[in-house]
């Protein structure tokens, strides 16, 4: 068998490349995912990502409770955080977060210095900046940076550029679970400067690092008990931190797609190898029968074929493993860039590589064993007898209409098309396997497109153009300052704050978002129940109503109609759940504005506003002139970010498309090659009859094109069905995804397939054209 490898080189190539594709995609994407998780986790560990962050109203550090000796807490650090803006010449003001550190080299959320150095212990006029501020806004070492916080302006000289795990991936707005690279400038300075000015140390933020092995929930509870007297604004555990949660959910999303791709590849490996081996043993029947007659045991014959498959599988596996590094690097690099990770650490995971190789080899060996075992179980005489020339089955072609259409074709084309009906099982398997590969790849594109359309639709449903976050809660009448701007058509205040929700023994952190009655700008997408009752003022004794995001209700095990408690600043507020909303952002509690005012304990104030501008493309630069404005988020930019986030999935899908097309070519190579070899004599006859090389080429290509067109047509319902299924899964787990079937999603996969897949017939064509005409014409049986 080993000596025959050269004679069956095209079949061998098909097997090798199919196994290689499977191994490369399986191992590449999984090691890519592992690399991304490893990057996050190793950096978070090395740089001591905080296990808990507690924000509260600014206070004198001396008023803070004693934070020492909390069981499970290894380290705690105090900080002062101010939202503000950075003025960048020639650009619109950039939202910024000024962090004053008690220790210039923090032990929690530690820095990795990319350039320059850290702030010295006694340096009050210097700062270090986050890497994105340097990359996206051109800030360099030695530049002076000016951060405006309300009326105050802080000027610092940049002495270092750092990566901090805290803002490893950052979002422009916590209300939208979408990262926006460089949309906020993070500046770190010495807390001593503020202490020097005020005469006392003011802080508003604590970050905790737990001891290894500590129970996070128990430690968090102990910390919160210790901080009970503080006006806590937000409690953020590691898992709820955007940088952690976003990477997790994004990669989990991608990981959900991968098994189906792998399954398709394994199926195709099985088909390609089973078809090839069937053909090989059909050609070798006389020799196999003779060996059996000579006393060779079936097991020995089976071992010979398994050995060849194993050799080819190992060669394919080796190529695949090499390709896996490429797939890993492309996938991980694009994903990291899209998510805004400033650093990527790739890893090699031998168990994953071994698993990828083992699965492909196992499938290849099973696909080899089945046809061989079926043959060698027969008696030698039955094996020696050559396989009968395939009987012509024309049931397909005799379907009225199809038959008529085929009859109109020139003979060469008619011959090619009817050849497909001659081997109905093989044609069906070929069509189905290519259609499956293309269908699944198209389905993923359709689902990503559906997600894009759904999210864009949501944003379009909200009538605001700009979401404006304030530096601090401001009296409601100051919203008029926004309305007075010429570019602003309408502005509606909202109030957002951190709360802790309790239902039975379940406790969850959540964000309250209070919306004004009859809001014109912000809409709720109800999944269940109803919207809360609108009221301009909360009446004492009236029942508080809220709408929760679905994820939050599930975590609290709450149903519509039940009551839960909102805890904030040592107060408890019973609230009735009246509805559930679809929300891209998790852990959201939507309430009437007066109820949010009461729970957040900021009566008559707003923490932000939704703004409708006169021109849709307004980026809101003018709003930065209002002194309480911290951050302006344009919906248009959010849409761009949505698309960038989805581009991570698109990378995987492009790979899947590429592999589908390559596998389709392999299947065509196998199938058309078989057909050509079986019909060698027919081609010899046609050439003897005067058919030119061009006409012969057209006939061979026709067969491949019919396969490609048939597979493309068959893949459409597969794609639609699979996409609807995937969308239903996403709807159940996350947000209601409305299925949309964009022609461009189909075209993205199916057009390259239509063009490239027929090229898989080129080796067969080469064989036909190089074959001696009369030898082929005189051939009697299958070769």
């Amino acid at each position: 068998m080993r000596r025959d490898l050269w004679h069956m080189r095209w079949r061998a190539l098909a097997i090798v490349l199919t196994v290689a594709s499977g191994v490369a995609i399986y191992a590449g994407i999984y090691t890519g995912l592992l690399s991304l998780f490893w990057t996050r986790d190793s950096i978070f560990t090395e740089q001591h990502f905080a296990d808990l962050q507690v924000s509260f109203l600014p206070d004198d550090a001396r008023n803070l409770p004693d934070l020492s000796g909390i069981p499970g807490v290894a380290r705690v650090e105090r900080r002062l955080l101010f939202p503000g803006t950075v003025r960048v010449p020639g650009r619109r003001p950039l939202a910024a977060l000024m962090t004053f550190l008690e220790h210039p080299a923090p032990g929690v959320h530690a820095f990795k210095v990319v350039e320059g150095r850290l702030v010295g212990p006694d340096e009050f006029d210097t700062a270090v900046i986050d890497i994105w501020l340097a990359k996206y806004h051109g800030k360099r070492l030695g530049d002076e940076i000016e951060v405006k916080v309300g009326e105050a302006t802080y000027r610092r000289r940049v002495v270092g550029i750092v990566i901090t795990p805290e803002y490893f991936v950052s979002t422009s707005s916590p209300a939208y679970f979408i990262p926006e690279k460089g949309s906020i400038g993070f500046v770190f300075a010495n807390l001593g400067a503020i202490t020097d000015t005020l005469g006392f140390t003011m802080v508003n933020d604590l970050v905790f690092l737990y001891e290894r092995g500590a129970d996070p929930a128990a430690v968090k509870a102990r910390v919160l008990v210790r901080l009970a007297k503080l006006n806590v604004q937000q409690v953020l555990s590691r898992e709820r931190h955007f940088a952690y949660r976003y990477i997790q959910s994004q990669l989990e999303g991608v990981r959900a797609f991968v098994p189906a791709i792998v399954l398709v590849l394994l199926t195709l490996t099985f088909i390609v190898i089973a078809v090839n081996v069937s053909r090989m043993i059909a050609a070798d029947r006389p020799q196999i029968g003779a060996l059996m007659a000579l006393g060779y045991q079936p097991g020995r014959l089976l071992a010979a074929y398994l050995e060849v498959t194993l050799i080819l599988g190992l060669v394919g596996g080796a190529l695949g493993l090499a390709g896996a590094f490429l797939v890993r690097d492309i996938f991980a690099t694009v994903s990291a860039s899209s998510m805004g990770m400033p650093e990527l650490r790739t890893l090699v995971d031998p168990p994953t590589l071994a698993r990828a190789l083992a699965w492909q080899l196992a499938v290849a060996l099973v696909a080899t064993a089945i046809p061989v075992v079926r043959l060698v179980r027969r008696v030698p005489q039955a094996v020696i007898r050559p396989a009968r020339r395939p009987v012509v089955h024309l049931r397909m072609a005799s379907i009225r209409g199809i038959a008529g259409a085929i009859r109109q074709l020139p003979s060469g084309y008619r011959y090619a098309v009817r050849n497909l009906a001659r081997q109905p099982v093989r044609s069906a398997v070929t069509l189905a396997s290519i259609a499956l590969a293309l269908g699944v790849a198209t389905a993923y594109r359709l689902s990503v497109g559906s997600l894009d359309t759904t999210l864009s639709g949501w944003l379009a449903n909200d009538k605001w153009d700009l979401a404006v976050d304030f530096l601090h809660p401001v009296p409601l009448d100051r919203i008029d300052e926004l309305k007075a701007l010429p570019s602003v058509k309408q502005a509606e205040p909202y109030f957002s704050c951190y709360v802790e929700l309790r239902a039975g023994d379940r406790i969850e952190d959540a964000t309250v978002l209070g919306l004004v009655p009859g809001s014109q700008l912000s809409m709720l997408m109800m999944a269940e129940g109803r919207r809360f009752r609108e009221s301009r003022r909360f009446r004492a004794g009236a029942e508080r109503e809220a709408v929760l995001s679905r994820d939050l209700s599930q975590r609290l095990n709450l149903s519509v109609g039940q009551v839960f408690e909102a805890h904030t600043m040592n107060e408890r507020f019973p609230v009735r759940l009246v509805g559930l909303s679809w929300a891209a952002v998790g852990a959201l509690t939507l309430m009437p504005f007066p109820v949010a005012e009461e729970i957040c304990q900021f009566p008559g104030k707003a923490s932000g506003a939704y703004v409708d501008t006169r021109v849709d493309t307004d980026s809101g630069s003018a709003l930065y002139d209002v002194d309480f404005v911290a951050k302006v988020l344009a919906k248009r930019d959010l849409l761009t970010q949505v698309r960038q986030v989805l581009s991570v999935m698109i990378v995987v899908l492009d790979m899947a498309t590429g592999v589908s097309v390559v596998v389709g070519m392999m299947v065509i190579l196998t199938s058309v090659n078989l057909s050509v070899l079986e019909n060698d004599r027919d081609f010899g006859t046609l050439r003897a009859l005067g058919y030119s090389r061009g006409l012969i080429s057209t006939i061979v290509l026709t067969e491949a094109v019919v396969y490609a067109v048939g597979a493309v047509l068959l893949s459409i319902p597969i794609a639609v069905g699979t996409s609807v299924y995937l969308n239903a899964k996403m709807s159940a787990a996350w947000i209601q995804v409305h299925s949309s079937f964009s022609p461009s999603a189909f075209a993205g996969v199916l057009l390259p397939a239509l063009v490239l897949i027929p090229l898989g017939s080129l080796p067969s064509l080469r064989h036909v054209l190089n074959r001696d005409v009369l030898t082929a014409a005189r051939a009697r049986a299958l070769e």
């Binding site: 012509v392 060469g412 050849n419 001659r422 010899g684 003897a688 058919y691 090389r693 014409a777 009697r780």
Partner: protein, 226 residues
């Protein structure tokens, strides 16, 4: 039979190289085939009969010497020109019929005509005419697998005749048929070739076919022996 040469072979040699060994299959063959004649070529396996057929039928080119058929020199033709030449001027009949299994009898005949500059109606007319002439008028829509061996070979003859070529080459046309069927097929070919005024060259081991021949040639060691 006219004494008007259709094909002339002058000092034709054909050699094949197999690894290090060169085999001279034809050695300085001189041959003239007259128009309308039926020539039967005998010889043992490997003597060069089929090679001679290949050269006259423009399936191959000689190693040296000249092959001129119907005024055209095969030796100097390109592959494309030889394909055009075969399409227009040569009809082939094969031992194993070589019908395309997915085409019906009439479609098989039409397949040979579609490479000629003929109208569709003319292609259909000729195909029906020659299938009827060969006695298969009632089976034009049958697939090869639905026909007997003799019937399949008759379709093969109709396919060769329908082109109305000046030259028909038959390679062991009765080799896969029983004696009666073989003689019937040969009789039909012998009669019908007159209607198209074709020269027929039949390569065979069957001595009974000599009875249909205007001339019998014997090839021995790559040369015309008689």
């Amino acid at each position: 039979m006219r004494t008007d040469p259709l094909a002339q072979l002058h000092q034709v040699t054909k050699s094949y190289r197999t690894g290090e060994v060169t085999v001279d299959v034809l050695r300085g063959v001189d041959l003239v085939l007259q128009r309308d004649e039926l020539v039967v070529v005998h010889g043992v396996s490997g003597c060069g009969k089929t090679t001679l057929l290949n050269l006259v039928g423009a399936l191959d080119v000689p190693s040296s010497g000249d092959v001129v058929v119907d005024g055209a020199s095969i030796s100097s033709m390109t592959e494309r020109a030889r394909a055009r030449f075969r399409a227009a001027r040569v009809g082939f009949v094969f031992q194993f019929y070589n019908l395309l299994p997915t085409l019906t009898a009439i479609e098989n005949v039409e397949a040979a005509l579609e490479v000629l500059p003929l109208r569709r109606e003319e292609i259909r007319r000729r195909a029906e005419h020659y299938l009827t002439a060969i006695g298969l008028g009632a089976k034009v829509d049958k697939f090869p697998s639905q026909l007997s061996g003799g019937e399949q070979q008759r379709v093969g003859i109709a396919r060769a005749l329908a082109k109305e070529p000046p030259l028909i080459l038959a390679d062991e046309p009765t080799g896969n048929l029983d004696e009666d069927s073989g003689l019937e097929v040969m009789r039909l070919m012998s009669e019908l070739r007159r209607s198209v005024a074709a020269t027929v060259v039949v390569v065979t081991h069957n001595p009974n076919l000599s009875a249909f021949a205007d001339r019998v040639l014997r090839i021995h060691h790559g040369q015309i022996a008689s």
